[in-house]
């Protein structure tokens, strides 16, 4: 394993992208940073700009409005990076399946942008913070 990947596992900084979520998944993500779960002990930090990020936490279905922005954010993220799809909406299209405003699933959109993207799925509506931590750990150990 190269030192790049090793250090990436030790300090994954995440950027949170809302691609048309109902806001419930976003609240659960913010939950991750509270003293109860304290992901900073694993080196995970929420950053304000995609250029600083190593992982994108994408929530939501990928609405028509959000898709171009999502692609732009993915292009702006410094590679190597991992994409986490948080919630049933972004993993499939969840309860919004075949909605008039849905362009996703999100993984298809990201693959259009970059066929070799590393994508991890954390299902649930919304997923528990424990599930997100376990998803992040599993995805990083698979790198």
């Amino acid at each position: 394993m190269s030192w790049k990947i090793w250090s990436l596992k030790k300090s994954p900084w995440v950027f949170h992208v809302n691609a048309g979520a109902c806001n419930n998944c976003d609240i659960e993500i913010v939950n991750l940073l509270t003293p109860k779960f304290d992901v900073e002990r694993l080196g995970i930090k929420l950053v304000g700009s995609p250029r600083h990020a190593d992982a994108l936490l994408v929530t939501g279905v990928g609405t028509r409005q959000a898709v171009p922005r999502l692609k732009e954010v993915y292009r702006q993220t410094a590679k190597p990076c991992v994409v986490f799809l948080v919630g049933a909406c972004s993993c499939g299209t969840g309860i919004f399946h075949e909605g008039y405003h849905v362009e996703g699933p999100v993984d298809k959109i990201i693959r259009e942008e970059d066929p070799n993207a590393i994508i991890a799925y954390v299902p649930g509506c919304p997923p528990k913070p424990e599930a997100m931590i376990s998803g992040i750990v599993k995805a990083l150990s698979a790198l």
């Binding site: 190269s2 030192w3 790049k4 250090s7 990436l8 030790k10 300090s11 900084w13 003293p35 304290d38 900073e40 002990r41 080196g43 950053v47 304000g48 700009s49 250029r51 600083h52 190593d54 702006q76 410094a78 590679k79 190597p80």
Partner: protein, 310 residues
């Protein structure tokens, strides 16, 4: 110190300062975590962060002025490293030149100046907001900081070299204490810590001045910030609290003073919400200004009549 030992010291001092800075970064994050009842990151976390950033892709925005954008972090880092070298020279080798306090004041502006240059070269509107805030903040605290040092110069009887100032402890008087408190808040603003992190405000301008930086360039900014965490408190110790020695109790006592300042900075950071830029300017120019004018008058009276505690 014998000659080979001396040479060895000056070889390891720059990497040593960087490592000390990373440890100080960890202290900041750990103590913040403890204040918030969390566990906090492991000791090597800042090192992992730097290593990871070094391995990542560097993105330069299309509209950026490439050369300035890439050179600015290096200029800032060079400035703080030079400042910390000066301080080590004074504490370890006891050599100084007349007027080095003024050089130090200039070197302390260099990181903020580099930040302003780099972010305005990045061509991003968020960075532009961050730049304008950083510029106003610099104008705000710089005046107070210089006035605080003038108090010290008056207290020490017109001394302009740091090695002589470091022999005395001006903070042990009313005017010196006032100046020290104001200088502490200025250092808080210089470090971009919370009540004054207006330029980086992650929740409003998404990282502000640093928004377009990625990979190794961001790592250089982080290292610069880490070295500032060593150099600025050390400078305060040297100027206000009587410096520190290299042997026995004076070393322990010196480390104690450094830790005291860092912990004070962290506690201010964790117990205050971010202020707006106009509030920060008003605070530095108006309230700190009045306190410092009072301190200067007290110090002048004190030195005229020879009253030490004024």
């Amino acid at each position: 110190m014998s000659v080979p030992l001396n040479i060895l010291f000056w070889v390891v001092v720059i990497p040593g300062t960087v490592i000390l800075g990373l440890v100080a970064c960890w202290i900041v994050r750990k103590v913040s975590a403890l204040v918030q009842w969390r566990v906090g990151p492991p000791l090597c976390q800042p090192l992992y962060d730097i290593m990871k950033l070094m391995g990542k892709e560097i993105l330069v925005p299309q509209d950026a002025q490439r050369t300035v954008f890439m050179a600015a972090p290096l200029v800032g880092l060079a400035g703080v490293l030079l400042l910390s070298m000066m301080l080590w020279r004074i504490t370890v080798a006891q050599t100084a030149f007349i007027g080095d306090i003024i050089v130090a004041i200039y070197l302390m502006v260099l990181p903020s100046l580099a930040l302003i240059l780099g972010s305005s070269a990045s061509g991003s509107p968020h960075a532009a907001i961050g730049t304008s805030r950083e510029m106003k903040l610099v104008m705000g605290y710089e005046l107070s900081l210089v006035l605080a040092f003038i108090v010290v110069i008056i207290k020490t009887g017109g001394q302009l070299d740091l090695a002589t100032i470091a022999q005395q402890a001006p903070a042990l008087s009313i005017s010196g204490m006032l100046a020290f408190l104001v200088a502490l808040l200025c250092v808080q603003a210089k470090l971009g810590f919370v009540p004054f992190d207006i330029a980086e405000a992650e929740t409003e301008v998404a990282g502000g001045v640093l928004i377009e930086y990625s990979g190794a360039l961001l790592a250089v900014w982080k290292v610069m910030h880490a070295v500032m965490l060593v150099a600025l408190p050390l400078f305060l110790v040297t100027v206000f609290l009587g410096g520190f020695g290299t042997t026995g109790w004076s070393l322990v006592w010196g480390i104690g003073k450094y830790v005291l300042i860092v912990v004070l900075l962290i506690l201010i950071k964790n117990t205050n919400p971010r202020v707006r830029i106009d509030q920060a300017m008003k605070f530095f120019w108006f309230y700190c200004g009045i306190a410092l004018v009072a301190a200067i008058i007290l110090a002048t009276i004190g030195s005229y009549y020879g009253i030490g505690w004024l």
